[in-house]
């Protein structure tokens, strides 16, 4: 009996691990930056390159930083949702134009609509590296104290927006300096 039972149990164990493996995404690297201060930066704006945007100017409000590029295909599919979000006036969305030609980027926004309060030129990708970006698009949720509370890897989907990003943003907007809101408090972000 045992002779047949042992291989069966071993098989089920291996099958269990493999089944779990099917659900995991090996390309997804969890950001260790969650709940850490967002690296500060100062970059020229895409539409007025002589003006600088400093991340510390955003202290005191909740904002989204969306990393995008005109060469990024997934950004194209994500963009209509961001345009919608910008019309809803819930939270300011800033774009980090990652390793892109400014002319291409401007054309792209003209074609697809500009979802950003402002896009910032990260021509050599240095700020991207500072933020631990390893693919585009990525979207950071940054709170009033300048702390990264969430990061969406890949395109923001409608369900991720409704179940995680927006509820989290609302909580963060209601929070005072004394209360700490973590993304674990929003069910959809788990």
């Amino acid at each position: 009996m045992l002779r047949y039972l042992v291989p069966l149990i071993v098989f089920l164990g291996v099958a269990g691990f493999l089944l779990k493996g099917l659900e995991l995404n090996p390309r997804e690297v969890p950001s260790p930056f969650i709940d850490k201060p967002a690296p500060s930066f100062s970059l020229p704006k895409l539409h007025e390159p002589e003006a600088q945007f400093a991340s510390k100017d955003m202290l005191g409000q909740v904002w989204l930083l969306n990393v995008w590029a005109s060469w990024c295909v997934a950004c194209r599919s994500e963009h209509p949702l961001l345009v919608q979000l910008s019309h809803a006036n819930i939270v300011p969305v800033y774009g980090l134009n990652y390793k892109d030609e400014p002319d291409d980027a401007r054309n792209w926004l003209r074609q697809l609509g500009d979802a950003y309060v402002s896009s910032l030129i990260d021509y050599d990708g240095k700020v991207g590296i500072d933020y631990g970006v390893y693919g585009v698009p990525e979207t950071f949720v940054i709170d009033k104290q300048g702390i990264i509370r969430h990061k969406v890897i890949g395109p923001v989907t409608p369900s991720a927006l409704d179940n995680c990003v927006l509820p989290l943003v609302r909580k963060l907007q209601q929070a005072t300096a004394q209360t700490v809101v973590k993304r674990t408090e929003v069910e959809g972000c788990a």
């Binding site: 690297v29 260790p32 390793k99 990708g125 390893y134 693919g135």
Partner: protein, 176 residues
């Protein structure tokens, strides 16, 4: 005759020509010593978009950027551990090509030895079982033992029957 001469000359040219080796293009680096440090650190860092390569091995754009970042940091005088800490802060332990030992990687480090241990235990248990089985097989009952003794005795008292040559045996059979 002329063509033969040309042939010989050509052959000599081929045989005695100094060997030419293709050289890999060398990077134009200001400081080869520093480049060595950069490479050594790059060997420790995983390329995030091509997962099973180090950033030293990979030509993916992100890997090149990270290498440049490492170079900048080396240039500004930061140590290897500073640079690796910087990368881990941004990309997590995942970025280290050799994972550190901590609670989340414990199973990774201990797992193979655990499996080995289980294997050895199974092997020892099985081997023990097998020797007991052999011993039991070797244990004869009293009757079997008597039969064995009888057979052995019969064998030693009549060796010719078995070991005699074939022709004499045949002859004996014909007689009877």
């Amino acid at each position: 005759m002329n063509s033969l001469k040309i042939g010989i000359v050509l052959l000599c040219l081929f045989v005695f020509a100094p060997p030419a080796f293709a050289k890999e293009a060398e990077y134009m680096v200001a400081d080869p010593e520093m480049e060595k440090t950069v490479n050594a650190i790059s060997e420790e860092l995983r390329c995030l978009v091509c997962q099973n390569q180090t950033i030293a091995d990979s030509n993916a754009p992100l890997a090149v950027d990270l290498k440049n970042q490492v170079r900048d940091m080396v240039e500004s005088g930061q140590s290897q551990s500073d640079i690796i800490d910087y990368m881990v802060e941004r990309y997590g332990d995942f970025v280290r090509y050799r994972p550190p030992m901590n609670t989340s990687t414990m199973l990774l480090w201990v797992g193979p030895f655990l499996l080995l241990l289980i294997g050895v235990v199974v092997l020892v248990v099985n081997l023990r079982k097998r020797t007991t089985v052999i011993k039991n097989d070797g244990d004869l009952s009293v009757e079997e033992n008597e039969r064995l003794q009888r057979l052995l005795a019969a064998e030693s008292s009549a060796p010719a029957a078995k070991h005699g040559n074939l022709s004499s045996q045949k002859a004996g059979e014909e007689k009877s």
